[in-house]
Amino acid sequence: MTGLSWPVGMRRAPTAKSVGFMRLLAAWHAPCFAVLASGCFYIGPIPTVEYNLPPEIKRAEPAADTEEALLIGPSGQSVFVIAEDPEGDEVRFTWTLTGEGILGYGYPVYDGEGSEIVLEHDPDLDGKTLGCLLDDGENDLVALSWRLEVL
């Protein structure tokens, strides 16, 4: 993590492994919860725990969350993210900058499944962190970040 602090409730995208673990956990807890809640036997439908999966990143360009800073040269730098929501929800992209808050929602690309922002060659950006929050409207956020260095 570089620079950006995420409000409570936001978290990074789970990996395929962690998503699998969450599904296993849900399957394990659902019957246990049903039995415990009824005292002994449970007659009736077992409640289904529905999990919403966060948006999946199809492409982030340049690569996000790397150790290397994103260098901004004299002609500026374009940054874009393309994502897909497993449930088909519309993904909202919000671009942020440390010290600036929300920059905006970016320019829609890839038929609206992506968002692009163009950073100009501005010395004030040096040392700041660009963030992109992907929100599928289900309280499941994915955060990407780029540490900026201006040449």
Partner: protein, 531 residues
């Protein structure tokens, strides 16, 4: 096809070898002339890395007029050079006398290509070690080394074709000094100014390349180094400086370096100092607005040359206070994004007089509005699923967007300022990517997609299809973005673009000529070739 013809003709005219054709100045000059010809397109392509792990870099391809369809775009490989950067360090404005032991040099590295093609950047580390990757354009690439201290070593430009090996150590010579003293008027007294920021720049491959920022010393003197004789620009001031936080106007000084001994360039900034201005930002209901941005753009400064643009933010109480130079300004007040809703509209107050201690009072933000209407296709039928993007003209250049429904209508909140509206149809049959400039969003009720001209092709690398490549189409001459899309899994892309106005007559004829040759928008990989 035209590219092939031009290259062949060039070869015959030069009577030169293939090596000379790639690296010779004649070739690059010819390419530049082609790239700026009316109707020429530049396609900036940003591909993902290939499946085998090969790193492919964002790169530009020039498309000549009438070659817009069936483009076979073979991506350039990535070329990487690495090495150690050193400099014969010389301090002060003498030429240095006896050579010193080279020291590692921290510098920014730029790979610049002609015709505003995409390049790349890198930075050397404390040991001077660097690695720079860039698209292997067949000609016209230059490597620029920008030392992080312009007083120690000059900016150096090398032709990439001269670097024929991946290992590349470079020693930078002391260069030619450019030096002088910066003065300004403080309380009516001509004073040498310490700590004033400066940059020296020159044109490389059509782009302005600047040195790192350097400052005047305690006696007001500066020195920078350049690698060759020629024309430069010295940019001075434009911000707060010094221990007393004075404000200096931005002044650009053109200069000519004619002799290896260097050149003295004194700079007078006129009036420096500061005038404090404060005020409050309120919305249309009279509520104070926190975190609003207030930008001052000078139109006329008192007592001197230059200009000044400074920004400040309001505090929690909606108040701001800033230091400026006395003069006349346009004051732009902009709200910040806070939520999905558009909070308010930015406002520009023109010709505001600023003197020391002035209270600008309440600066009012106007209410937001909505951009609503209908998009019609080329046959004047409602166009469904059109992406409507409205970008503020000036101010923060905020972007708002929506999409048309099945009935072709759209409706979304925007700020109430002049906008550039870009309509991107869901399919190229509906029309071209169409741009319109509107003065007042609330007065708009319909747009019609232009017929435009088709641009299509296939992106490949090593013969393999390249999918999910971002493709932006620019007018090569003006640099205006005409449309953007992505390649599909087969590397195929197709869109229609509206050419800039002056080109339309020519290109209507071109399109007619082409229609007999190419027909549909479908990519034909074996046809024309973009560079």
């Amino acid at each position: 096809m035209r590219m092939f013809t031009a290259a062949t003709l060039l070869f015959v005219l030069c009577g030169c070898s293939d090596m000379a054709l790639k690296g010779g100045r004649f070739d690059t000059a010819e390419a530049t002339a082609e790239a700026t010809a009316e109707g020429t397109l530049r396609l900036d392509i940003d591909p993902p890395d290939s499946d085998d792990g090969t790193v492919l870099l964002a790169q530009s391809h020039i498309v000549l007029p009438a070659d817009y369809e069936g483009l076979g775009i073979e991506l350039f490989d990535t070329r990487t050079v690495s090495g150690v950067l050193t400099a014969q360090v010389t301090r002060g404005w003498s030429l240095g006398g006896a050579p010193t032991t080279p020291e590692p040099l921290v510098a920014d590295l730029l790979a610049l290509a002609e015709d505003n093609r995409l390049g790349t950047v890198a930075r050397s580390d404390a040991d001077g070690a660097f690695t720079l990757s860039f698209p292997a354009y067949p000609f016209g690439t230059q490597l620029v080394f920008v030392p992080n201290d312009a007083a120690v070593a000059p900016l150096l430009v090398l032709d990439a074709p001269d670097i024929d090996r991946p290992r590349f150590d470079q020693e930078i010579e002391p260069g030619i000094p450019v030096y002088g003293r910066v003065n300004g008027l403080i309380d009516g007294v001509d004073t040498a100014l310490a700590g004033v920021p400066l940059r020296i720049s020159r044109l490389v491959n059509g782009q302005v390349i600047s040195s790192s920022v350097f400052t005047t010393d305690a006696t007001g003197w500066y020195v920078a180094r350049v690698d060759q004789l020629g024309e430069y620009t010295l940019d001075v001031g434009g911000s707060a400086f010094g221990e007393d936080i004075e404000i200096a106007p931005a002044v650009s000084v053109p200069l000519l370096v004619e002799a290896p001994e260097g050149v003295e360039v004194p700079v007078s900034l006129g009036l420096v100092g500061h005038a404090t201005a404060d005020g409050r930002v309120v919305d249309s209901s009279g509520e104070r607005v926190a975190d609003a941005r207030v930008r001052f753009v000078s139109t006329l400064l008192d007592g001197g040359p230059g200009s000044l643009t400074l920004e400040t933010d309001t505090n929690r109480d909606g108040r701001f206070i800033t230091d400026l130079l006395p003069g006349i300004y346009d004051v732009e007040v902009m709200p910040r994004y806070e939520s999905d809703a558009v909070p308010a509209s930015p406002v520009r107050y023109k010709n505001v007089r600023v003197d020391d201690g002035v209270d600008l009072g309440e600066l009012l933000l106007l209410p937001a509005t909505r951009l609503a209407g209908t998009v019609l296709d080329v046959n004047e039928r409602p166009a469904a699923n059109v992406l409507v993007v409205a970008t503020e003209t000036g101010f923060a250049e905020n972007v708002y967007s929506g999409r048309t429904g099945q009935d072709g209508t759209f409706d979304f909140p925007v700020s109430d300022v002049p906008m550039v509206v870009t309509l991107t149809p869901a399919d190229s049959a509906s029309g071209a990517v169409t741009r319109s400039e509107i003065e007042a969003p609330a007065t708009v009720n319909s747009f019609q997609l232009d017929a435009g001209v088709p641009v299509s092709g296939r992106v490949t690398h090593g013969g393999a299809f390249v999918g999910t490549a971002s493709i932006k189409v620019y007018d090569a001459g003006s640099g205006a973005l005409l449309g953007q899309t992505f390649s599909d899994d087969d590397g195929v892309f197709a869109l229609r673009i509206s050419l800039p106005e002056p080109s339309r007559d020519t290109d209507t004829a071109t399109e007619d000529d082409d229609s007999a040759d190419t027909g549909a928008d479908t990519a034909d990989t074996g046809a024309d070739t973009a560079r």
